[in-house]
Symmetry: C2
């Protein structure tokens, strides 16, 4: 079995690495992964599989036998400009696979092809989900479409730049946080920067929201409960001497405890309202409940760890901490037991979601091997 998986993966690695590079050159926004979907469907078809593209043209699934064990990859990219000199490099300016979804998708394709070549009567479903980065994430749609209905277990990888290639991180219980999103819009009459007292100094009000909201949220909870509030975008105004009429802020809040999470929307709205009122600004707060935590099933995690150790060696599997990142993989786990694993990809040192993120190609066959071995082991029961 081990020899067979090794041979299959060795044979596939050049093609799967090339596929990862091709996907990397074609990063697409959430729910617009049309070319990505085509590339994946073409590749799977070439290898004799029968992929089914979703009616939206974004995302696809492929079944091998009667599906009992599922594997999920996510396929969207992030609005980040990829630095010059990267190879492969994004061909869509302003967009970058800075979260490793290109690797997730390529590894998943490798697992599908590999499982189709493996002897045994396990049945599998490999599915490629759009819009993992969006709130609400694409997993909600796929769950509604029944993608995990009837499955006994589901698993997924997420790349981890803090682990070396060759290492895979495993954890029982929560491995990602609840991630909620919010947008704050502040509005005022606008005016001349020489006379802020005659209008609403709208950027001053926005500055207060930026500086006050995170500590107000932090201090509302026991210090041992992680809560992370951070802004991703702020936009308002154009000329240096015109006070704008609108400033928009976008951010996320991560938490682990259900009670902390439940208190957040009201706390954000109340805090923004007080700041806005103090400045005389009109405000609207849109709070979006994002994903719940991903809570790994211990039995699935253990089966995965055993199969991975067997296929790749004892030193491969390492324990990992809960991340404050969010993952809509959580929605599948409401329906089916499963687990998410960390795929070591350290290369260059940049964090995921940053332009400095780089992925070591050596991680790809490791993920394919572990995935094939674990899926087959789970199917054997």
């Amino acid at each position: 079995m081990r020899a067979s998986v090794e041979r299959i993966v060795a044979d596939l690695t050049p093609r799967i690495t090339g596929l990862r590079h091709l996907l990397h050159r074609n990063p697409e926004p959430s729910n617009q992964e049309f070319r990505t979907t085509e590339i994946l469907a073409e590749t799977l078809s070439k290898f004799g599989l029968d992929p089914r593209v979703r009616a939206t043209g974004t995302g696809l699934l492929v079944d091998i036998g009667e599906p009992r064990i599922g594997f999920r990859a996510d396929i969207d990219a992030l609005p980040i400009d990829e630095p010059e000199g990267n190879d492969p490099r994004s061909g869509n300016p302003g967009w970058m696979h800075a979260c490793g979804h290109d690797a997730h998708a390529a590894v998943a394709a490798g697992i599908a092809i590999g499982l189709s070549r493996l002897e045994g009567d396990g049945g599998y479903r490999i599915f490629f989900q759009p819009a993992e980065e969006a709130i609400v994430g694409g997993a909600v749609d796929l769950v509604a479409e029944g993608v995990v209905d009837g499955l006994e277990a589901v698993m997924a990888f997420h790349v981890d730049p803090t682990l070396d290639p060759g290492h895979i991180g495993v954890r029982h219980g929560p491995i990602t946080a609840a991630a909620d999103g919010f947008t704050v819009v502040l509005e005022g009459p606008g005016g001349h920067t020489s006379r802020p007292h005659r209008t609403v100094d709208l950027i001053a009000a926005a500055g207060k929201v930026i500086t006050d909201l995170p500590p107000v949220i932090r201090s509302a909870f026991d210090a041992r409960q992680p809560v992370v509030t951070a802004f991703g975008a702020v936009h308002g105004g154009e000329a240096p001497n015109v006070i704008p009429t609108r400033v928009e802020l976008r951010g996320t809040i991560r938490s682990l405890h259900p009670e902390v999470r439940a208190a957040l929307p009201e706390l954000v709205k109340r805090t923004v309202a007080r700041i806005a009122e103090a400045h005389g600004a009109v405000h609207t707060v849109t709070y979006r409940q994002g994903v719940p935590p991903v809570v790994n099933d211990p039995a699935v995690a253990d089966a995965f760890a055993r199969a991975t150790r067997e296929a790749l060696g004892d030193g491969t599997v390492v324990p990992v901490e809960t991340s404050m990142g969010g993952e809509d993989f959580a929605y599948y786990l409401d329906r089916v037991p499963g687990a998410m694993f960390r795929l070591g990809v350290r290369c260059g040192g940049g964090d995921i979601h940053s332009a400095g993120f780089k992925l070591d190609d050596a991680a790809v066959p490791v993920g394919v091997t572990a995935g094939i071995a674990a899926m087959a082991a789970l199917a054997r029961g």
Copy 2:
């Protein structure tokens, strides 16, 4: 004389009002006032004058006789969207004559045409300056081109929405402030909003600059010295869950006292540097010395006030305070004695530089009358 000016202005008012409306429908950015310049040149030519357009295609001047007394109008618009329902309304989305330069230009055209019809041997230069809203303002170019060389006095209006139409504000000494501009760029590696500790929380750093810079500047000077620091623009990031790599802030600082003004660049740079360093952000500060204060010559101001009272009645002329606004008219006053006056235009209540600004058409003939009368009086000596 009074009767003659009255007759001339009554005859011109419908055309000059129409000209103001036409200019209002065609607002253009600083140094791109091509259509505005064409409209003004065509109008002046139709009335038998001989306007000279600048080599840039933006701005023009017209001489009546051998020029001794000058009048300056500014012609650029602001990057503001004009609200629906305004009539006249901007036909260039995103741009609006929200500072009344359409009225300045139309009044100046009226003054030129009126003076050409007035008996007497005074010589006049009426000039239409681009880019008053820019830093550095267009006045610097016009001074270099010699537009005020040889003149004995120069004057200008600025609309004032705090005065009713029919009132004209006069002041000895400073009537506008020194207005300097600055741009702050903060840069960092970017990252994921779940892990701000692994990167630079760049919007947090920008928020600190917004909230801390104005009070630090304010508290560096005697409370009786006016200093106004305000931001007009802040831009950074896109996705709610991606910490951006760059945030840009743009603002202005207004001051009256030369010593206060001289201390500002170093104070801004030091304060931004400390905030940026505390957050680990890379920073650049571009500080642009803008206009000095406009300091009205008492003799020109008095001659204007006398002529205006004679032409329009005793109640017309009112005293006004120094504005914290800046005006590149100041550069002409380095060369030639002169004064700027406030033209009452109150209508609707919006401040200048805001989308709520509206101008009462009744102000236009008042400005034309006062301008013709004062220019003629100054020419008589």
